[in-house]
Amino acid sequence: MPLLREPDRGTPARPDGAPVDVVVDGLSVTVPEGTSVLRAAAEAGVEVPKLCATESLEPFGSCRMCLVEIDGRRGTPASCTTPVTDGMVVHTQTPTVERLRQGVMELYLSDHPLDCLTCSDNGDCELQDVAGAVGVRDVRYGYAGENHTAEEKDTSNPYFDYDPSKCIVCSRCVRACEEVQGTFALTITGRGFGSRVAASGGESFMDSECVSCGACVQACPTATLQERTVVELGVPKRTVLTTCAYCGVGCSFKAELRGDQVVRMVPHRDGGANEGHSCVKGRFAWGYAIHPDRVLSPMVRDTTEDDWVETSWDEAIARVVDGFARLQAEHGPGAIGGITSSRCTNEEVYAVQKLVRLGFGNNNVDTCARVCHSPTGYGLKTTFGTSAGTQDFRSVAKADVILVIGANPTAAHPVFASRMKRRLREGAELVVIDPRRIDLVRSPHVEAAHHLQLQPGTNVAVVNALAHVVVTEGLVDQGFVAERCEGFAEWAAAIAAPENSPEATEAMTGVPAAEVRAAARLYAGAANAAIYYGLGVTEHSQGSTMVMGMANLAMATGNIGREGVGVNPLRGQNNVQGSCDMGSFPHELPGYRHVGDPANREAFEALWGRPIQAEPGLRIPNMFDAALDGTFRGLFIQGEDVAQSDPNIQHVHAALAAMDLVVVQDLFLNETAEFAHVFLPGTSFLEKDGTFTNAERRINRVRPVMPPRTGKHEWEVAGEIAAGLGHAFGYPDASAIMDEIAALTPTFAGVSFALLDRLGSVQWPCNDSAPEGTPIMHAAGFVRGLGRFVPTPFVATEERTTRAYPLLLTTGRILSQYNVGAQTRRTENVRWHPEDVLDIHRADAELRGIADGDWVHLASRVGQTAMRARLSDRVPPGVVYTTFHHPESGANVVTTEHSDWATNCPEYKVTAVQVTVAEHARPEGVERSPSPPAVPV
């Protein structure tokens, strides 16, 4: 489409007000009470000039361009800060206001460079537009007076420049950083003529607290804050609406192009998940899609010792087909399998699970949710009846108390975190349950009422203690429980036992009993209380138990089924929700239906023309175990870097090395490709045509900005492999795949590309009962009928500290890098995080003679690696923390085989380790060796 410019009506909508009738320039219009005169005029089709006002920000009234005259009122009020009243008559074009606007514009232009024709914003500048609209013909002040036109640019940020010479001090950037992003990194220093935008305390943008979300750039009406790519390439000319391929927020973006060249990604204001906001990754770090490291042609080799040889698609696919067929003939139908990608589209993932079930004839298919949110699937299905979060993101705006458990949303789900921070600034209260002091505990205008800084591995003990308080102090919502749930009496009796009390668990969890009681009373006493959680819940030996524990807590307090409440998993990957929805599990078909039920298999078998195995297949860890056993010989890996991201990677490497045929489909030659025999080039999100499903079950379109640089879509590749095995798919396009998904999956029954084009996005279930989707689940009743209370006894992890390994390692993510870093390490984001470091408390560091910045060995009983230490009080004594964005640091060299009992989700968050000073800098490569005997401290 041509460049999409969303209308900017100047001030936010006020949808909840009573209707008010206004006349603007003789035009009658009805708007909700609370609407500004500026917006009412826009609704009537009258454009009032403005510079400091923009629809995404609260009115400010500083630029004095939007002045109007109102019958019965003196003077010329700013229309942005003046709310409508019933019967108001407004005049926007009078000689008085026109003269005033011209005078104000003359003042602006007297202190502004006159390089419009060569300016990077030429044709896209609001100052230019407004100057034309108000009809300035002369600047009576001239240009020789004191001005700011010689001020130097700040080019420290790799993605955008700050040119103060062009700043009109409208404060949009400052307000965007406050209201939209919530970081408060910008301010206006000085007064009057001396007013200037400053980052933090007058530092460069790069050195300041700026998180490079781009909200200021988007808000800026001039070229003061401008994307580097626009400066270099020019103003874009056309738009493709698509969806970000980083995290589970699933931001909608306008890909803005000149021809086939992407100039910039701008968040789409009508995006259901993000409503016009973004983070540094989606906004700026998209260059990996056109990075020179991209592999664009298939490659094959006979052994992993050989060099790669480029080949044709026909040859590569033939080798895959022949190889898998041979392995099944020699070792049985269960000897091969596939891993789908949580970063690929629903259509691509569906195609691979269909390849496995139809082409391979088994259920050996799994996805990365195995290592992140598989406990969410188990826990929420068991308690509520469906494997997904209960709310939409907007729901947080109605929460009164927010529990954030094992999540760090400002780093891992930043756009959702901005919504949450806005609600917290409005007065909602926050409880953080995390071993680390995450940013949310205390950040600008946000402070947690309670930070339960628990010991890693004690989540279930803490949630049981919270529930104990609710039950024993009479805080249960008896009406909700009686009407909507089952199993309460048994659960309540168990949870009320003394061993679950905050006092009994304090010594083990490290959380003072008084804090637990206060947090429980706060949560249970709120009108609306919501739980948001992440991998700090799921990646534990009792991950599934903890999810059920949180569900129990929500049911017991009646916090399900309306806005502002719920149990909300913050799903990590852009399409991990979708890959689960699409049946990428060895035990479930699309729509979370067990393969063991003939009724579930029937429709698939009828359409696909082949029986589906009735028994579960192998999960990812089971595939690796079976490979070492010699019974699993071949693996198709779509977009997953298991050799870096999975735990106990020596075990993973050994398993991959043991296989006869490893096929990797990816963008780059990653760690896993080291073990591959066939490399099939994958497509980036800029080339894909399909859908992603985000953490709020929202299905968004991913539209191609360019054709596949590899020559094929990934679903076509899966189809050709299946055809080679005798089971052609026959899809003409990606839309047909979604049509098949809809035909076979009741929760997707109403979904189609046409529906998504019409609505923008839709949250499943989307079917006859909910033709435009379901933002809030379990409103009238739980999906399983009654919500089920499930007892959650605490069982300590087998991973224990010892004299040899006395510290506990937990892992997480940061804002600028994403997961294993395959994408973000190929962008300028490396400037913020060039390496993974180990956060260690000063007390632990002192005992070990470790200074800030020292190289240290990090060792567990399964392996050791080396990285730099960073002394930090964010972690308590006894706990160390690192990220896993760089393969060199090899954090998963030390993580163990322990996993969630129900789903085998790895226990990444609890590893007993020792940290010692390294005598010299990191040796080349990661030390993939068994740990040497640790020196007791």
Binding site: G334, N363, N364, A494, S541, Q542, T545, P586, H587, H594, G596, E615, P616, G617, L618, N622, D625, A626, L628, D629, T631, P791, P793, V795, E798, E897, S899, W901, A902, T903, N904
Partner: protein, 74 residues
Amino acid sequence: MSSADQVRMATDIAAQFRHLPPEDGVAAIVTHLRSFWAPSMRAQLVEVARSRPETLDPLVRAAAERLDDDGPAG
């Protein structure tokens, strides 16, 4: 995969149901294994129950014996 992996995972599962009356615990373990474990994995556990029952947690042993009663698929 080695039977040690199966035994370890089955023992973890049993620990979650130890709070139940033994018969209910065994039934819960059996249901979980049938729902989520591939037949090859169940078969390995059954083999351990046959050859080295004394090495198994009592709940795991009882569950494996019940799987054995199901026949080849476990």
